[in-house]
């Protein structure tokens, strides 16, 4: 029996290794062939041209823009929402609101995409965009910003909640107002947990595909404005996947490798941040009687 359990535990490691190996074997030679600089920093994506070129720099830039803006929106609103729930909201409402937000975290991304496509894009086109273009970075960022809200709220709320209440009481005892105690004592104390939430949100934003391709437009152009059809790394893979083959397909896989490396970097920073906060709690939990 032990062997069965052990094998299952190894399975995750195996899966990760297989994914990494397969992606790199299929993608890296293509990057090498095209030339690392030409692939990463090339600004021309024309896989179907007679003389094809594979530069994904516009997609990298678009991904970074969309991620940065959506995280700004998501964190800006989400963090303050968490603080409101934590200290300023009537206690009776906290549990139902949290439950509702958790439930909304389960909304499929394709539904956010549909919402963006039919509500946000027309709204941006008619009322916000100077050139009358709805698709683009702003729409995508708004959609993703809403999409990551539940995650940001939950993680921030949990990290605030895990700060010992004695800090808060101590601050009040020294004459601080409720607001001062919350913002000057509790918020800094919960910092690393909240930062971990930010990294998590970045990961979700940069990796999201479906909600993005429905509102981003899709032209592989260098982003110059918030209201311009562009393409992110994820959109590049999804849009090309069904029609390309040969070298062009390898280019998509290479795009996947770049995205994968991005998320690996995020993962490492996430676990470093979590280590700072989580260790003590984890240690306490681990002390159980388990037979050798």
């Amino acid at each position: 029996m032990r062997g069965v359990f052990l094998f299952s535990a190894i399975f995750s490691i195996l899966a990760l290794v297989t994914i990494t190996v397969f992606l790199f074997i299929s993608g890296v030679p293509f990057i090498a062939k095209t030339g690392f600089a030409k692939f990463i920093f090339g600004s021309d994506w024309a896989p179907l041209a007679d003389d094809p070129s594979y530069g994904i720099f516009p997609m990298i830039v678009a991904s970074l823009y969309v991620t940065a803006l959506s995280v700004l929106i998501g964190i800006g609103v989400g963090l303050f929402t968490a603080i409101a729930l934590y200290k300023f909201c009537p206690k009776k409402l906290v549990a139902p609101i949290r439950q509702m937000i958790n439930l909304l975290a389960g909304i499929p991304s394709v539904i956010f995409g549909l919402f963006g496509m039919t509500i946000i894009v027309p709204f941006v086109r008619d009322y916000v965009s100077p050139a009358g273009v709805g698709y683009g970075i702003l729409s995508a960022s708004l959609v993703l910003g809403i999409m990551i809200l539940p995650t940001v709220v939950s993680v921030s709320f949990d990290s605030l909640n895990s700060v010992s209440n004695t800090y808060y009481e101590g601050a009040l005892a020294l004459g601080a107002t409720k607001e001062q105690a919350t913002f000057k004592i509790m918020l800094p104390a919960a910092k690393s947990g909240i930062l971990a939430g930010v990294v998590l949100a970045i990961g979700r934003s940069i990796g999201e595909t479906m909600a993005v391709i429905m509102v981003i437009g899709g032209s592989p152009e260098m982003p110059e404005s918030l209201f311009q059809s562009v393409r992110t790394l994820t959109a590049n893979i999804a849009m090309g996947a069904l029609e390309l083959n040969g070298d062009a397909l390898s280019a998509l896989i290479a795009t996947g490798v770049v995205l994968f490396v991005f998320t690996l970097i995020l993962n490492v920073s996430f676990s470093l941040l979590k280590k700072e906060t989580g260790d003590k709690v984890a240690d306490k939990k681990d002390r159980r009687g388990v037979k050798k």
């Binding site: 995750s12 389960g106 107002t177 429905m214 893979i237 998320t263 159980r288 037979k291």
Partner: protein
């Protein structure tokens, strides 16, 4: 200074309201916009010539089945090993932890690429439900491992000792005492993971293709899912069908998520009586 902090309080209130409005707006819009466009034809009608989501229903169920059959046993067994056999510490646990956390952070489209490379191309299955289901299984594995681990850790240590003291073997203790005690949490985690399978679409684009007008003949046939249908309808000029399908998917997923907590609590009540 005090005034600044008091002002921040109002910022918080505004943020809370914005969050709620934004999230509720998405749900309300989908429901209000889509309910009146639901029709029997769309739900169960002929799918060959007119749009119908019958193939997507069947496809979604197949994907859930494949993913669950693979991910649940492996995930639960893996958590059992980590908690019951290594005491959840040591180097091996660290390595598995890092692996599952990394897996959890990989974007779904990258899973899609992987599924495409290994199952569709290398294994020669072509675009198929099996390729999609297995890829999804790998994708939900980290969540199942993690939540099962937590459920197992929350089982009181005294129960295990009590069973050992009666001369019970380790395996029997795990299956008869530990797992039933942790069942509530584990079942909740599994249902939530199924919710993720139902919600996912990017992976499927690259593994099962998007064949919306055929019911898959076998697990090795290409197909579609509810989430994929929404994308198809929305991007191929069927806005009404997209809106209606979104209602179906949203209700389906919300019900799964509500059910997850409900069933978990029910099981917990059953194992622990009304005392807890």
């Amino acid at each position: 200074m005090r005034r600044l902090y008091s002002a921040l309080k109002y910022v918080c209130a505004v943020a809370l309201v914005i969050s709620l409005i934004a999230l509720v707006a998405v749900v309300a819009y989908v429901l209000i916009n889509g309910v009146d466009k639901l029709s029997a034809e769309l739900l169960f009608g002929d799918y060959k010539d007119t749009p119908s989501i019958l193939p997507a229903f069947i496809g979604t169920l197949q994907l859930v089945g494949i993913a669950a059959v693979i991910a649940v046993p492996i995930g639960v067994a893996s958590a059992i090993f980590l908690v019951e056999y290594t005491g959840n510490k040591g180097k091996f646990v660290k390595v598995v932890q890092v692996a599952t956390e990394t897996l959890a952070g990989i974007p779904s489209i990258v899973y899609g690429l992987f599924g495409y490379l290994i199952f569709v191309v290398a294994f020669g299955w072509g675009y198929s439900m099996l390729a999609g289901g297995i890829t999804l299984a790998i994708m939900i594995l980290p969540t199942i491992v993690r939540s099962t681990q937590e459920s197992l850790l929350s089982v009181q240590g005294g129960l295990r000792e009590g069973a050992y003291a009666l001369g019970t073997s380790k395996v029997r203790t795990i299956f008869k005492i530990v797992l039933p005690s942790a069942a509530g949490g584990i079942v909740t985690a599994i249902i939530l993971a199924i919710g993720r399978v139902v919600s996912e679409s990017a992976v499927l684009l690259l593994t099962i293709n998007m064949v919306v007008n055929k019911i898959p003949e076998s697990l090795l046939s290409p197909g579609t899912s509810l989430a994929l249908d929404i994308y198809y309808f929305a991007s191929h000029g069927y806005p009404d069908e997209a809106a209606a399908t979104a209602v179906v998917l949203l209700v389906f997923v919300m019900m799964l998520n509500l059910l997850a907590g409900f069933i978990g609590n029910l099981i917990r009540k059953n194992t622990y009586g009304d005392t807890k």
